[in-house]
């Protein structure tokens, strides 16, 4: 059953439309990436999903039921602007957030023990204490004693401690060093494999391509592209092919011939140091014809269709819409 379904959701603040007719489906065991430039309306959309604000029009359903406040128990929400109680101990914060999300104190204590171990946070509490979590609470560090990265980890743990069915994360990797970013990423993937639906917004395109099953790109409050990550990329395929020929064996006149060719889109050096020429192919100038032309020119070291990256799609579509 679909975890979360948005149907023509709109939200307006004053005269500004921040979400315009947005529809989305978030399935269990999938990761949905929400993309968009600053001010596109991502946070407003995530807040509506997390029951913090309500849409002006349209419907949101959680597990087939109209979304109401009680569903928030089954969600974990981590906003972009992180916040915890500065003078509260680590374990107290975890207990507090677990309890307000419906866990009993004893359940929360079990989860805390397990997750602190998994997230390598056990040194934040006194390891020599063997008198149960209640006593260790008093000895655990306070937030003001933690570094920013450690606080981020704690914030993430507060979000997932109650085993939510839907995880809503606003820029989940910001503030993490690569080691901790990988740790968080692994946990997100584990949760996904256990059936948790994850929706997150990010500006890091590498995360989108490697993590997300589905994406929604929004700009000025409205969706530009939606769908499976690979399908969205394929949908933007413009018939571009990349061709690289071994520089030592290249026919002397070949590059000039290519450069003068009207089908050449651009030429650039790849990480191996070869010149890559990107051509526009279509019915008149097919990829087979290009391949033949290349093989005549020298030894082909690289030949591939160029499917635009999410980054390219993002930049190009947002720029063209904003200039329109």
């Amino acid at each position: 059953m679909t975890i979360l379904e948005l149907d023509s959701v709109s939200k307006t603040y004053g005269s500004q439309v921040v979400s315009k007719e947005i529809s989305m489906r978030i399935e269990p065991g999938t990761i949905h990436g929400l993309l968009g430039p600053n001010g596109a309306g991502k946070t407003t959309l995530l807040r509506m999903m997390a029951t913090i604000t309500k849409p002006d029009s349209g419907h949101i359903c959680f597990l087939g039921e109209p979304l109401v406040d009680v569903h928030a128990h089954q969600m974990g929400y981590m906003p972009e602007e992180r916040g915890l109680y500065k003078r509260m101990s680590v374990v107290d914060q975890l207990l507090f957030f677990a309890e307000i999300r419906g866990l009993s104190r004893s359940e929360a204590q079990g989860e805390i023990r397990q997750w602190m171990h998994r997230l390598q946070m056990t040194d934040w509490i006194n390891p020599s204490s063997t008198q149960g979590i209640k006593n260790r609470v008093k000895q655990s560090k306070k937030l003001e004693e933690l570094s920013k990265g450690m606080a981020q980890k704690l914030q993430f743990l507060c979000t997932i401690i109650h085993k939510p069915k839907l995880l809503i994360l606003d820029e989940p990797f910001s503030g993490f060093d690569p080691v901790n970013a990988d740790l968080i990423r692994d946990i997100i993937l584990d949760l996904k494999n256990q059936g948790t639906a994850v929706v997150f917004s990010t500006h890091r395109m590498d995360n989108i391509e490697s993590l997300c099953d589905d994406i929604t790109l929004i700009n000025q409050g409205a969706p530009l592209f939606q769908g499976k990550t690979m399908e969205v990329r394929r949908s933007q395929f413009a018939g571009h092919y990349d061709l690289a020929i071994d520089e030592d064996q290249v026919e002397p006149e070949a590059p000039q011939r290519w450069l003068q060719h009207s089908r050449l889109v651009r030429a650039f050096k790849n990480p191996e140091g070869n010149w890559v020429h990107r051509f526009q192919c279509d019915a008149e100038f097919s990829s087979q014809h290009l391949l033949k032309l290349g093989s005549e020119a020298g030894r082909i070291v690289h030949f591939a269709e160029h499917i635009p990256s999410i980054h390219d799609i993002f930049v190009q579509s947002v720029q063209s819409q904003n200039h329109a």
Partner: protein, 438 residues
């Protein structure tokens, strides 16, 4: 309700575990005693103190047919030089005298045409003393002119000690103890005033801190803003009540200790007084009388009314303070909202000072003890003065009903304000937030 309980527990425990709370709870009563002691001392000193430099030299000029002699007073030494006003003014400018009293026409026993000249303004007290001294002298002169001896008439005056008693429905007479009741009522009202601000500000700062720390967005994804606000308000209220209960326990312990220690001595003193005469025994009699009056106060009722109206007042004002904290983005935003919200409370204290102590059952005091924004102060000042339970219940129902209405409005501001950052909100914004549905 469950979530209000969780928020309540967090607020309560995090605050009472705080070292500053423990220290304030222990030393608070002593600081308050010091404060009131200081006020009483300052008041007494102000009454007893005289102007620097001893009595002022006053020279009388002009015509004063009815006023043949002006005797000395505490602050003034009078002299008649017989000079005219202009030449006496020269003496004033030289500094050899302090005041010129120019009396022009007292033929009809009037003091309307008396003018006092001085190089420095006279204080209110000096003006009052000068006026009453002249009135007294004029009165004596007129008595003499009628052939009566003023001193003989003065000796006929007798002091009366008035013992005011109030009768209950059952016919039992009790000491009125008006001064003591006023004192007790005013101390309680001042405590409420102080604590509404103290704990109301605590709620406001808590809301503001959660907003600026950005933690609020995490919390309200699981807890409704109304639950967050109520949990916070009730948690801080419990902190205040805890502090009061500790103080009441400390006070009760102190009074019990004093009763056991000084009680028998006072009884002994009373017996001795009956067989003795003199100023020392009079002072002891006054102490014993005060002690008896103190014991005769309806403490059960007073404490009940105090707790009822402290809680009601706190809940009403703290919901407003919470809304202000949620609406503001930084400390400086708070100031403009605080003034109109705190004015009724300050006004209540003024009414308590000006009206309730003068006429605790007068119409002004009665009306303001019903108005919810002032009743937490005014009703508490009236409470030692045998206010009926019906009045107390009526006022309390109004107060708590207003709190429920106010919390509904404040929750709306709280809900929207918590997610608004940057721009300082205006009164118009708050109004729009109340009207906004989501």
């Amino acid at each position: 309700m469950h979530k209000i309980g969780i928020i309540f527990r967090r607020e309560y425990l995090s605050r009472i575990r705080n070292k500053s709370f423990i220290v304030m709870t222990l030393i608070g009563p002593f600081l308050l005693a010091l404060f009131y002691g200081g006020m009483i001392w300052v008041g007494t000193e102000a009454v007893n103190s005289t102007e620097d430099g001893g009595p002022k030299k006053v020279t009388i000029t002009g015509q004063y047919p009815g006023l043949t002699s002006v005797g000395p007073s505490e602050s003034f030494a009078f002299q008649n030089t017989g000079n005219d006003l202009e030449s006496t003014k020269a003496l004033l400018n030289e500094g050899s005298i302090d005041v010129i009293l120019d009396i022009q026409d007292l033929g009809q026993g009037s003091l309307d045409s008396v003018t006092a000249y001085s190089t420095q303004s006279l204080s209110l007290r000096q003006e009052r003393e000068l006026r009453s001294h002249l009135e007294l002298q004029l009165h004596r002169n007129q008595l003499q002119s009628m052939g009566l001896d003023p001193l003989a008439l003065d000796s006929l005056r007798q002091g009366v000690e008035l013992h005011c008693q109030t009768l209950s429905d059952t016919g039992d007479a009790q000491n009125s103890a008006t001064t003591l009741k006023s004192g007790v009522g005013f101390v309680m009202a001042f405590l409420i005033y102080l604590f509404i601000f103290l704990y109301g500000s605590m709620v406001m700062r808590g809301a503001l801190e959660e907003k600026t720390n950005r933690i609020v967005e995490v919390i309200i994804s699981s807890v409704r803003p109304f639950e967050l606000m109520m949990g916070k308000i009730l948690g801080v209220a419990a902190v205040g009540l805890t502090q009061f209960l500790v103080w009441i326990a400390m006070g009760a312990g102190l009074i019990t200790g004093l009763s056991r220690f000084f009680g028998p001595q006072m009884q002994q003193g009373l017996q001795n007084t009956q067989s003795m005469q003199g100023s020392g025994s009079q002072a002891l009699q006054t102490s014993i009388s005060l002690w008896d009056q103190f014991h005769s106060l309806p403490f059960g009722k007073i404490i009940f009314v105090f707790v009822l109206f402290f809680l009601g007042g706190y809940l009403l004002y703290s919901s407003l303070f919470a809304a202000i904290g949620a609406a503001a983005s930084q400390d400086t935003d708070v100031q403009s909202f605080m003034l109109p919200v705190s004015l009724p409370l300050v006004f209540g204290l003024l009414i308590a000072q000006a009206s309730v102590i003068q006429a605790p059952h007068g119409s002004l005091a009665t009306w303001f003890s019903y108005i919810p924004l002032t009743s937490p102060i005014v009703m508490v000042v009236r409470s030692p003065f045998d206010v009926s339970w019906l009045e107390i219940a009526g006022s309390a129902i109004l107060l708590y009903s207003t709190f429920i209405a106010m919390v509904y409005l404040a929750a709306k501001i709280y809900r929207i304000g918590l997610l608004k950052y940057g721009k300082k909100p205006t009164w118009k914004d708050l109004y729009l937030w109340i009207r906004q549905s989501n």
